[in-house]
């Protein structure tokens, strides 16, 4: 029981972090960024390269992965998304192609086989027969810190509120003197950084291989959609529902682990398309 509680909390924190970067783009740009999974991939591999192949300090590896994710996000916005913006299916398809291209780039550089990441913080804590690797604990604490920071950033700062405004009504925001392009750039940058850092933790939680981005992408999508677009609280709550559901189901039958997440997405999308906590769309 305690084992389930602790593992559920650890996994949910990770999912919340991954989903947060995705929800930012989805709510501000209304862009379904399928290449978001590629940030996770690039983040994981960048950390592996910098800290395990070049032997830089681990904290520097995480930072560099974040920077790389940020650059990637900005480049993608400038070169790809901006050019096809307005046509949703075009953005989805272009980002899907990009994700596959980046995946093969990783295969080309690092090979097809999976890599094992050394734990970011070594050591294991035992609490009443439940083993908690420090790495997972650190990942959870960092993701909570980032989430709280992000929540206050979006709520309290001028830029954060401008992001909210653009996500609610782009025209209204433009009339109020908000430069949508600048806000979009900031959002894509933050999203890339969050994705890459999430990727480092996710890779150390599972393993590092070129196809690792698909499962967390689907989970991020599930969390965001079930939680409701633009709702940070909703994202947080649903990340915990999905995380705990996976842990409980896999303690009962590990093979069915992902099935309920998929069923949840399908059911919620069909029955309540705006999500559990989302607001009505303004057209």
């Amino acid at each position: 029981m305690l084992q389930i509680l602790i593992q559920g909390l650890l996994l949910s924190g990770l999912y919340a972090l991954i989903a947060m970067g995705f929800t930012l783009i989805f709510s501000v740009g209304r862009v379904l960024n399928l290449a978001y999974g590629a940030y996770l991939l690039i983040g994981g591999y960048a950390y592996f390269y910098f800290s395990q192949q070049l032997g830089l300090p681990k904290i520097a590896g995480v930072m560099l992965a974040g920077v790389l994710g940020c650059v990637l996000g900005l480049l993608k916005y400038q070169l790809l998304v901006k050019r096809v913006q307005g046509v949703h299916s075009a953005v989805e398809i272009a980002t899907l192609i990009l994700a596959v291209v980046l995946q093969s780039a990783v295969v080309l550089i690092f090979g097809d086989s999976s890599k094992i990441l050394l734990p970011i913080v070594p050591g294991v804590e035992r609490v009443a027969s439940a083993a908690i690797p420090y790495s997972n604990l650190v990942a959870t604490i960092i993701s909570w810190a980032i989430l709280i920071g992000l929540y206050f950033f979006v709520r309290l700062t001028h830029t954060g509120r401008a992001m909210q405004a653009v996500s609610m009504d782009a025209k209204g925001a433009a009339i109020s003197g908000i430069d949508a392009n600048r806000i979009n750039m900031i959002t894509w940058g933050i999203s890339g950084t969050l994705g890459a850092i999430g990727g480092v933790f996710f890779a150390s939680y599972t393993q590092l291989y070129p196809g690792m981005w698909v499962a967390p992408l689907i989970i991020a999508v599930a969390v965001v959609i079930v939680g409701g677009i633009g709702s940070i609280i909703g994202t947080l709550v649903v990340a915990h529902i999905v995380g705990f559901m996976e842990i409980i189901v896999s303690s009962w039958n590990p093979e069915l682990r992902g099935v309920f997440t998929m069923l949840l997405i399908i059911l919620v999308l069909v029955l309540r398309p705006r999500g559990l906590f989302g607001r009505e769309e303004i057209h």
Binding site: V84, A90, I97, V270
Partner: protein, 318 residues
Amino acid sequence: MNLRWYHFAAWGALIAAMLLMPRLVDLGLMGRGTLRTMIQACYLAMFAISWDVLSGRTGYISFGHPFLIGIGAYGTAILSKKFGVPVELSIPLAVLITMIGGLVVLLPALRIKGSYFALVTLAFMELMYQLVQVIRPDLTGGTRGLSGIKTLTRGAENGYMLAVSLMLAVALGCWLLMRTRFGTALWALGQNEEAVSGSGLSTIRLKAMAFLVSAFVAGLAGAFLVHYNGSLAPRAMFDINSVFTIIVAALIGGAGTILGPVLGAFFLTFLLEWLRPFLPGAERFLVYGAVALVLYMYQPKGIYAIIEGGLKRLWGRA
């Protein structure tokens, strides 16, 4: 339908050219390997046509097309291998089951559209992938999949003739269907759904028809592909790369046209083959994807539109 003499001429020329390909092998102008590559291209072309009927026209982008293909493939494989149903019966049955699967995908499309629909279809595919391995692995073969499925043809030439006749029949059938009022209505659905329902047409019925036609083609091609390969594996079937290949083939060729996806499928399959000597593994998708991305950004309407534009220019100048 508005058919003209040059339509008949163009289709006649295409069918004749495709059916005469094996003669090139006899003459020594082409290797047998090329014929096998063309078989792959034919099946990819059918999948792309199926995707195009559903997504290229109506704007309901499906990211889960392998869901439908997989039902057809698993359907006939299980029926023929595990229950001893003759292939003549198991393929039509599998196609029928796939069409029921198409109606399952239709359910979300009645309420949601755009990005949300794309996601549900992706979730359908992932769900299918996980369920196939868990539920009744004695029937589905679990993670390993099935092998030793009865093959219909022997040798490259017979396989090619079967694949190409199927592909041409599907292409011609869909092309004719899309020239009817139904095809026009589907295209209008993609432009403006409110306007279509405002004109007194039932959008539900139109969507249902589109999903059924798409599922029919997907199931048919999936079933015959299994009986050509003789095996199937869940990881290769329900893979994001296979979604990617189908969508890119339809888009690069030209979505919303029937010949476009066929062109795209042949172009991409041969591109992948030509890259093989230089890049043996999954790295090929790097070049492949980059070519696709550049072509898509340059001309979202695809090769078909590029050729059409070129022809118009020639015509205009001459």
